[in-house]
């Protein structure tokens, strides 16, 4: 399943790259992109584990850049 979500707050290109790299390592993730220009977060992951993966991803966001929220 692939979903595009909006980001709110602030994130720089550097943190976006860090977040993206961290989410990529989660098991079950097919493709992920954190776009610091359009403020869009695209997560493509296995259907049945999607919600869990999304939750973990949001936690990664909070850890690396607490000023940025995912509008799921």
């Amino acid at each position: 399943m692939r979903k595009v979500m909006k980001l709110e707050g602030e994130i720089c290109a550097n943190c976006a790259a860090k977040v993206q790299a961290a989410i990529e390592k989660l098991p079950g993730v097919n493709d992920v992109s954190v776009n610091a220009m359009t403020y869009k977060f695209t997560l493509d992951a296995e259907e049945e584990r999607y919600n869990g993966i999304l939750e973990q991803s949001i936690k990664i966001f909070a850890d690396i850049e607490p000023d940025c929220d995912v509008i799921a």
Binding site: A13, N14, A17, M37, T38, D63
Partner: protein
Amino acid sequence: MTSVKRERLSANQALWLVCTNSGSGRKIPYRAPLNTDPNVFIVMTLTKRQKSKRNRILIALAIFVVFEVLEVAGVFDRLPGGLWVEFVAFLIPYLIAGYDVLAKAWHGITHKQPFDENLLMSIATIGAFALVLFPDAEPHMAEGAAVMLFYQVGELFESYAVGKTRKSIADMMDIAPEFANVSQDGKLVQVDPSSVELGTEIVVKPGERVPLDGVVVAGTSQLDTSALTGEAVPRVVEHGAHVASGCVNMTGVLTLRTTKLFGESTVQRILELVENASEKKARTENFITRFARYYTPIVVGLALLIALASPLLLGQSWSSSVQAALVFLVVSCPCALVISVPLSFFGGIGAASRKGILVKGSSYLEALAQVDTVAFDKTGTLTSGTFNVVAVHPETNVDPDLLLSYAAHAESYSDHPIALSVRAAYTGEIDTSQIASVQELSGAGVKAVVEGHTVLVGNDKLMQEAALSAHECHLVGTVLHVALDGNYIGHIVIADVLKDDAVETIASLREVGVRRIVMLTGDREEVAAAVADDLHIDEYHAQCLPADKVAQVEALLAQEGERSKVAFVGDGINDAPVLMRADVGIAMGALGSDAAIEAADVVLMDDKPANIARAMKIARKTLRIVWQNIVFAIGVKVVIMILALPFIGIATMWLAVFGDVGVACLAILNAMRTLRA
């Protein structure tokens, strides 16, 4: 308070940022700042986070001013233990203004991502307060608090400037329609475009954006296609015309029958393309990210070295060494680069897309700036790809209009491209009642009786069969001979014509410094030679199959140096392999062609090859701004670092904060110039 303040852009188009208290989130429509219309309004609304930060800064500033006045008046000196009272006093505004910086630094340490500007600022300001422990040094508490305040003001401005720039680029590219008018139970209802099914009739009123691709079933109007193609002249549409989503309806009400679902519509494809563009990073951009990764730890190490080595080895005082190290740390923040470089590329891509040039990634923008060889496909790229009458050569004493008239009448029932072009060239009415017994002579031409006269229209072979002597023509193209009642009356030359801006295209490419221009075509040698001659192209290869084109482009690539690139321009339909192979594949007139959008790196929505030079100019301007920012930011930082060295010791913490947030703000404002390419 919900009033929204507006500020006019000044004549030099500098961006004035106006703070308002509008919390309603009300948006005033505005066009992007590159618009030359002087009535552009920029509205600033702070986000919730920015507002709370602003309030904290104001409160901290007020408290700071009070204590600073007390300090200058010498109140603290008269108190018992005055130094420590002062310490606590300045700690209050410091914490109000900067507790989030400290918290984030701690967060970074506990989450193993320690090296960021929060940590640097925390160390620096805590350091300033800690100087109280060195009895030989001047107390620096006020400075610690002030620097934190100053830093936060800079951060607020920086965050605002980034948000604003990002948003104005994003808005500029946002051509997404918000609703579609669908008739339900006799009433027009606004629905989400993604819910509209294929073949639904939708109504587009004047001023609205066309939400879905469709065919006009009722109404006539003019469409503003500039968001898609950059073309300023409106397009007139009437019954039967195909309309692409994303255009703005200007004059009349149109009823369309949708031909595509929202997900596959033109507007959606363009949006996806442009939004994903910022993910394909340019080398310069990657360099900055890598740079930031190694840079911060190195700087922290150097700062430690200064703090420890200069008192131990050079005999400098501990306090001045620690101070120098702190200045060093603050000024070293790489944000100016990490933020402004991607922003510049994003701005360049935005500016290009505004002109109907879609660049699929900042890496291609970078490559575009380095192009010095351009290979063109001929048909559909430099020439219009349709046949046109280019000359009418009547025999002596024959009226050219008469010649064209007989030919057009004789060809009036044919759908052959040649017949179509003859009819298009004939300006008079075609009276079909005057035409009798039309005979298509396959591979030769047509024989018809027009107004009682026998007309033959066709090639050399037809004339030979009729035992007529036809004249040779010096022009290159398809020659159509015409005979009337057994007499040869002249010929018409039909050829593919150059596009209006083809000559300008080649000239403008030379002007931007393209060294070598090559034309690759599947057409015959003499046609290629004629076109190359008209356009002053140095080099051409005729009768190329798609595989030959790939081979030619590979040969060009092999001859190029490391820092120069080869671009291939094609119309995208059968050129996909070459588009992929070239450093920069440019597809033209791609509105509606999936294959081209897939294969190319740069997509020209319009059919105008002159946009290639424009795209290169935008690319070069973007790269120039990127390098300006890199050189400027690193230059200022290095100078301040040198000035901060203990044995020089001129740089203060104030200068250091300027070197961090001030330089970042300037770099961001500079990055914004890419929009106005």
